[in-house]
Subunit: 272 residues, 2 copies
């Protein structure tokens, strides 16, 4: 077993759900982060049974959020139900950007809080914690008006920790001059920790620009240590959106994930 | 005269220095922000005489910084001298990213402070204030490890205000949940205020993705009011890096700059 490693399935887009599950089992990866679309394609109940039978832990479901969408509340309710069916206690929220044509960033941020307030009790009833993921500020207009970890913690802190936590992803927060204080402050609000690296130049649209661990400039091990120092002992998901990596066979990608995770995220002294 | 408007010449790249100067005079634009390369091409002393004779104010020189470069200190000394020759009291610093292959972001940030410490007295001797420009966090790895206005103010505050200030550019800071508090805190450290808009999708490399005022989602007037509330009464530079705008004739661009500046940055009630 590779300690703590979870494969977020958005890293291996060539793999179907059963291929990803089989790949994890064979590589000694005990966790998997699932996405709603491929799960729906394979079938929700079928996926739940598959991962359970394989002995894998579903470390999170991606994703709820996008609260600027008109049907967001209903859609998020369905996402909560799906998370519960899949046996994961964590639904990651990508909270959405600003409505087209809008300049009201304060309004958009308030709308995120209001939407979470509407959903949080429903999530708790299903044994699911909503995990607010701050996205890199370059996504503020179109993907997430939640832009820093501190801001995500501010939002989460309005709710009981059993209902709302935060998702810490190295890609989104590494640049923040305040990042280590913010991680410490996040404390037991941290629901899930995700890693990948920052590489340049960014591609058009900037969505698929993430790097494999070790290929970029993020101090991954130091950030992992800071997250651990809060008492977090949970899984660490590898989530990489990158067209070149997406073009590669799932097995090739996972083999590299396992190696670079050990080299750049886990403790240097493997016996420790 | 268009109140407070200054044309940063990086907005009208089709124009030579004399064309930009003539364009400003004819459009009633009293200020111009200059860049070192086109100034060098036309000639430093010749540019200084040209803008003086035209009655224009040089509102800033772009740019010093890039402290990760080996020859940075010498190059920044030359930039300071050029600013003095051009008659501007402000040299904008784009502080540089991380050295290739490095993951030491704290070290890179400390190196920025150390470099400014070495240059600040030399700048003061030349009547030039160094203006630290925080760049959007998407540039952290390759252009500026100074990523928020608060961080820039922290750095500037280590020096006398006569030596080091900050450059407030709407493009770089609009997303910051802390932006209005940071502007208030920046106070009389604000050397210069720059505007343009945020549009998506970002192009490859993300450098040339800026929008004309009004085309994006930034609350430009609100940010201008916040800067004004600190007591800042200086020029407002329009600086837009955008390939489509760069492809247009200088006169077309400046005409649009003047109109959108009045519509989206200046007070709504023009008689006020």
């Amino acid at each position: 077993m590779i300690p703590r490693l979870s494969l977020n399935q958005a890293t291996t887009t060539q793999w179907t759900v059963p291929q990803a599950v089989a790949g994890c089992v064979s590589a000694g990866v005990a966790g998997i982060g699932l996405w709603r679309a491929p799960v729906a394609e394979y079938g929700l109940d079928r996926t739940a049974k598959l991962v359970r039978d394989a002995g894998l832990t579903v470390t999170s479901l991606c994703r709820g959020g996008f609260f600027a969408d008109p049907d967001a509340i209903n859609d998020n309710r369905r996402a909560i139900e799906e998370a519960a069916t899949l046996g994961t206690g964590i639904l990651i929220l990508v909270c959405g950007g600003m409505a087209p044509g809008s300049r009201d960033i304060d309004g958009a941020r308030q709308h995120v809080v209001d939407s979470i307030a509407e959903l949080a009790p429903y999530a708790q009833d299903h044994g699911v914690q909503l995990s607010i993921e701050p996205l890199h500020p370059m996504f503020c207009a179109d993907r997430s008006v939640v832009s820093t970890l501190d801001q995500a913690v501010d939002m989460a802190s309005r709710f009981p920790a059993s209902q709302v936590g935060v998702c810490v992803d190295t890609y989104h927060i590494w640049w923040d001059p305040n990042v280590y204080r913010a991680i410490e402050r996040a404390g037991d609000r941290i629901s899930i920790f995700q890693v990948c690296d920052w590489i340049t130049p960014l591609p058009e649209g900037v969505l698929l620009g993430r790097g494999m661990m070790g290929d970029g400039c993020i101090e991954l091990r130091r950030l992992r240590e800071a997250v651990d120092a809060t008492g977090y002992e949970g899984p660490i998901e590898v989530e990489i959106f990158n067209q070149t990596i997406w073009n590669a066979p799932g097995q090739t990608v996972l083999t590299r994930v396992v190696r670079t995770f050990q080299d750049h995220v886990l403790p240097d002294d493997r016996s420790a």
